[in-house]
């Protein structure tokens, strides 16, 4: 379990900065992997590995910062304003859900990651439905739920594994 006294404040700040850089790199790496299955909004969410790996080690505020700064910066660098809006809404919703599950202390990193993946997709979908004003978007719900579960599971297993190996941060 995370303990406030584990890591000094300056170390935490430095770690947050480094992890923003790492997760941006992962975001970029993901743009190089075309996961095009014909459904908009489906992606691996590789950068979430960072959040899952550090979930036991950093306070949630830092994870929130890592995720939101990463989303904003990578949208500026590799995306556009539309993808920014989708990514931000997905990221914020999934962070809130992951925070709640983490707080409940009943879930492992894998469960938290699955919930994060699914809620990320739901957040995106809600914004897309709101922006387009079209309920036709509900057709994407099953596919986005399934992709959220699968990617969340993969990222969760990876993240938990890496987190275990990161004893010394």
């Amino acid at each position: 379990m995370y303990n406030e006294n584990n890591i000094s404040k300056s170390k935490r700040v430095a770690l947050t900065g480094v992890m923003v850089a790492l997760s941006m790199l992962l975001s970029y790496l993901e743009t190089l992997i075309p996961l095009n299955i014909g459904i908009p909004g489906v992606k691996l969410g590789l950068a979430n590995v960072v959040v899952i790996a550090l979930i036991e080690k950093l306070p949630f505020g830092n994870l929130f910062l890592i995720s939101t700064i990463r989303v904003l910066l990578s949208a500026l660098l590799f995306g556009n304003s539309a993808t920014l809006l989708f990514s931000v809404s997905g990221a914020v919703l999934s962070l809130i859900v992951m925070f709640v599950l983490k707080r409940s202390e009943k879930f492992s990193s894998v469960g938290i990651s699955i919930a994060g993946g699914v809620s990320h997709n739901i957040g995106q979908l809600l914004v897309a439905a709101f922006l387009s004003g079209s309920m036709r978007i509900v057709y994407y719900i099953p596919a986005l739920l399934l992709s959220g579960i699968i990617t969340g599971l993969i990222i969760g297993i990876f993240g938990a594994y890496i987190g275990k190996r990161l004893k010394e941060v």
Binding site: S104, S108, V110, I114, A115, Y139, L145, I149, L153
Partner: protein
Amino acid sequence: MKKADIILLTVLLFVTCLAFIVISHFKKSNIGRTVVIEIDGREYERVSLSDDKVIRIPTDSNDSVLVINKSSCYMESADCPDKICVRRGAIEKVGESIICVPKKIVVYIE
């Protein structure tokens, strides 16, 4: 994975299956709601595909007869020389159409 993770995964998979079923059902019931009949580019009649009926479409000579039956519709007879519209057979999906060029009749589903 903890017990709560398994429960979460099961619930989410169940919800996904449910969503798949609901959406595919919704899509099916949404296919081919109305038949639109146009004569010479103007809308003549708009009928629900779910009511079985026979529609006589007026032309300058004998009427063309359109039959709506079991959520599909077809041209039963037409007073044109080629009868392409009759041979077109039944249509039932959104976007499908029966076009009779000599009589300037267009029937489509939306």
